[in-house]
């Protein structure tokens, strides 16, 4: 099972393990990670599960798809080059050790 690390804006870290095939948002929500709201439940419709992928991991995770790319223009916290919606990142062993930052706000 891949392990992922969520870094909150105040610097604290949450290490979470999740089964391959689940999405990063689900891993956050099931483990009560602060700051991942996910109003629409994973359909790329609300832009409230925004994360910043650590720059060194960005290539492994890849770029957003078209619908996600559009939503990322409307996040509450500023969009950065490694912004992603966590509901669109499917976890796999290849993403073991992934580090993402949770933004200051989602709404």
């Amino acid at each position: 099972m891949p392990i992922v690390i969520f870094q909150s804006p105040d610097g604290t870290q949450r290490k979470v393990s999740a089964a391959s095939g689940t999405v990063l948002m689900q891993a956050a929500v099931s483990n009560d990670v602060e700051g991942i709201v996910a109003e629409c439940g994973g359909n790329a419709a609300c832009a409230t599960c925004h994360v910043y992928v650590e720059a060194t991991h960005a290539e492994r995770v890849g770029p957003p798809g078209d619908v996600e790319d559009e939503m990322l223009d409307f996040t509450a916290a500023e969009r950065r080059p490694t912004s992603r919606l966590s509901c669109q990142i499917e976890l796999s062993d290849a993403l073991d050790g992934l580090v993402v930052q949770v933004p200051e706000e989602q709404v």
């Binding site: 929500v29 709201v37 109003e39 629409c40 439940g41 359909n43 419709a45 609300c46 832009a47 409230t48 619908v67 559009e70 939503m71 223009d73 409307f74 509450a76 706000e105 989602q106 709404v107």
Partner: protein, 399 residues
């Protein structure tokens, strides 16, 4: 699983007066949250779920809290539609209808036309010095915008607004008034005709509208499905943005200091929008039906139980929002429930945010100088399933 239309054993039974709920539901909601956060209410024929955390939990379990509620008046008025479906059936229809309502489309494809519609309506009233901003401005504006996004070039804003009112009356026709059913049927028949005509045109000439998007969807959608889902969108798509516009304008006109700050910092209109939607949610509740036995708020519910998620109450939950009954655009950012949650998250959220907070409010407050409330006794907040101002009479210095 057929619907259970009685109280679950063990659920507290609370009598609520529907007329009182329509007038002001918030005192009753506060009592329910404190004493009976899941309660059977005989006059509504459903269990009401009123605390924020419980509602969020239910929204995250659509496989337990099904949208396929039997006997719903909405089904009677418009027929099968995505609001009363679960995934994957819901997802097929939602994916087909949604693209024109996504935020970049709203801004880039529709934004200019929304603004033209707003300016035209303002031109019409600006010289008068007095108007009802709900009836004379907000309703015709959002109806015109809706006709555009749906692709109903063969319908006027007045048609769309009248259809919406007739269907909404049907959706809440618990009194079984035959005249209400008849007007709702006339409206849905007119929509069927209008949609069929535009779908035929969109088949040949795609135009980026909802109808066009559904006609050309990757997974095929039948004409009857397009017709029914357009009805649902018209039903909700008028009163919800209209009511956020009205309540937010009213709240600001009663708070001159806040209004002045917003006028100096236009970025704050977004906060006004989200706080208004929290404070007086245009949709106050929606129904779900349990697919299996499930315990929530301390009450074990059997499969088939009917539960109303009362988001108008969750948005006033004092354990989540300090001074929850106050309108305060500076409150800490906390997600509200006004757009619902999970797969049914409001499809029109981005349309409403744009047309109200980026266009309608800034234009009205910028153009109508010396705007103030006329303090008409007709202007009342009303409703609990849907809640908004009946009218908003204002005066200003006509140039």
């Amino acid at each position: 699983m057929s619907a259970v239309t009685t109280a679950a054993p063990g659920a507290p039974v609370v009598e609520l007066d529907l007329a009182e709920l329509r007038r002001d539901p918030y005192p009753a909601y506060a009592r329910l949250r404190r004493h009976a956060p899941l309660a059977w209410v005989p006059s509504i024929g459903r269990h009401l779920l009123t605390r924020y955390d419980d509602i969020v939990r239910a929204e995250k379990l659509p496989e337990v809290f099904s949208s396929r509620e039997e006997g719903s008046l909405l089904l009677r008025v418009v027929g099968p539609n995505m609001l009363r479906e679960d995934d994957p059936q819901h997802r097929r229809l939602r994916s087909a209808a949604e693209p024109p309502a996504r935020p970049r489309q709203v801004r880039d494809r529709w934004g200019e036309a929304f603004e033209r519609n707003a300016r035209r309506l303002l031109d019409r009233i600006a010289g008068r010095g007095a108007a009802d901003l709900v009836g004379d401005f907000a309703e015709p504006l959002v109806a015109a915008n809706l006709a555009l996004v749906l692709g109903l070039r063969n319908a006027s804003a007045d048609d769309v607004a009248a259809w919406s009112r007739a269907m909404m009356a049907g959706n809440s026709n618990y009194a079984d008034d035959p005249g209400v059913w008849q007007r709702a049927e006339e409206a849905t028949a007119a929509i069927d005709t209008a949609v069929a005509e535009m779908a035929e045109i969109a088949r040949r000439e795609p135009d980026g509208s909802v109808i066009s998007s559904m006609v050309h969807a990757a997974e095929p959608v039948e004409l009857a499905e397009i017709q029914n889902n357009v009805k649902v969108i018209i039903g909700g798509g008028v009163n919800e943005p209209r009511d956020v516009f009205g309540v937010g304008a009213w709240a600001l006109l009663r708070r001159p200091e806040t209004l002045n700050r917003v006028l100096k910092d236009p970025a704050a209109w977004k906060r006004v929008f989200e706080e208004t939607a929290r404070w007086v949610s245009p949709i106050g509740m929606y129904p779900r039906q349990l697919t299996q036995d499930y315990e929530i708020a301390g009450v074990p519910l059997p499969a088939g139980s009917r539960v109303a998620l009362v988001i108008g109450s969750g948005n006033r939950d004092e354990s989540v929002f300090d001074r929850a009954d106050e309108f305060d655009i500076d409150r800490p950012h906390q997600p509200h429930l006004a757009f619902g949650g999970g797969p049914h998250f409001c499809m029109g959220a981005w349309v409403a945010r744009h047309e109200v907070s980026a266009i309608a409010w800034p234009l009205v407050f910028g153009r109508l100088k010396g705007l103030r409330l006329a303090d008409s006794a007709e202007d009342r907040l009303e409703g609990w399933v849907f809640r908004g101002l009946t009218s908003l009479h204002v005066t200003w210095q006509a140039a």
